[in-house]
């Protein structure tokens, strides 16, 4: 098979921080 090459404009490290939402705990409805 012929390998497929993907051209990436910018490496991931240059895209800035990626914010991942934590699964838990959930939102505070009243106060902490």
């Amino acid at each position: 098979a012929t390998p497929v090459l993907t051209v990436v404009d910018k490496p991931a490290s240059e895209l800035g921080p990626v914010t991942l939402l934590p699964a838990c705990p959930g939102r505070v409805r009243f106060f902490k």
Binding site: A23, C24, G26, V28, F30
Partner: protein
């Protein structure tokens, strides 16, 4: 083989389990106040070989101002603000979904009062056996009975007592549940009847000078648990009727694991209340 999933704590699936657990815990409670969901701390879903889901959820609950005998829907109850000494419940609940129906299997709760916000001049929650505060409650009841000459009420339960240090000494803020009484001369008997009037009173001030505001519950709820009845000699018209209960603030029922399923760890053994 058991598969374990960890859905988002704010997912609809987690909210469904948490709200069902909250309603179940409130229904278990026959004294004190209703609790509202504050936060889902953690959730794990175990899927067994038969395809049934078992939920292990940890939730944080906050005390509202609605007594459990108050028929006001929980959605209309107000969570007590932190500065009035918030009481919170941390509960581990196990639920099972069988044929699409989710039910509570077991729970373990511990109740705590928030102490981090204590400040000078703030109200401090008192134990429910504080004699001076109890005298204040009885004086408040006597005041309420005095302004309602056609009807006499007894104390069914003291909900909360707190004090605040002011210039004239400790000022009290108390909440108590009243029950219609049947009086003959100086002897009063509480009407243990679904038709008996009940309500919640808030009193504030000192034993010699205070304000009392009572809100009667609009609908009727039967009493389902045993009560202790004993006359209080100093208060001939105030028969003291209290649910069997410890002297700390009202707590959520601590543990319920009917099948001894070992679904809940015993890492923090809680002292169970007599309910």
């Amino acid at each position: 083989q058991i598969n374990v999933r960890e859905p988002l704590c704010d997912s609809p699936e987690a909210e469904e389990a948490a709200l069902l657990a909250r309603d179940y815990l409130n229904a278990q409670h026959n004294h004190g106040y209703k609790y509202e969901l504050n936060r889902i701390e953690d959730i794990k879903v175990h899927t067994g070989p038969t395809g049934d889901d078992s939920y292990a959820i940890e939730i944080d609950l906050l005390e509202t101002n609605c007594h459990v005998l108050d028929p006001t829907p929980l959605a209309n109850c107000t969570v007590r603000p932190k500065h009035l000494t918030a009481v919170e419940g941390d509960c581990d609940v196990v639920l099972k979904r069988v044929d699409g129906v989710l039910t509570v299997v077991a729970f373990k709760c511990k109740t705590e009062e928030s102490r981090e916000d204590l400040c000078l001049g703030c109200y401090t929650l008192l134990p429910l056996n504080d004699t001076t505060a109890l005298k204040f409650v009885h004086d408040s009841l006597a005041t309420f009975n005095g302004i309602n000459p056609n009807q006499t009420y007894t104390i069914l339960e003291v909900g909360r007592m707190s004090s605040q240090v002011v210039a004239g000494g400790p000022q009290y803020l108390a909440e108590f549940i009243i029950n219609e009484a049947n009086c003959t001369g100086d002897t009063c008997e509480p009407l243990i009847d679904p038709l008996a009037e009940r309500g919640i009173c808030t009193s504030k001030g000192f034993s010699f000078q205070h304000t009392v505001d009572c809100k009667m519950f609009p609908t009727l709820m039967p009493i389902v648990n045993d009560i202790t009845i004993g006359a209080v000699p100093d208060y001939p018209k105030a028969v003291h009727v209290l649910h069997k209960h410890g002297f700390g603030h009202h707590k959520l029922t601590a543990l319920h694991d009917p099948h001894l399923s070992k679904l809940l760890s015993a890492e923090s053994a809680e002292s169970a209340e007599i309910v």
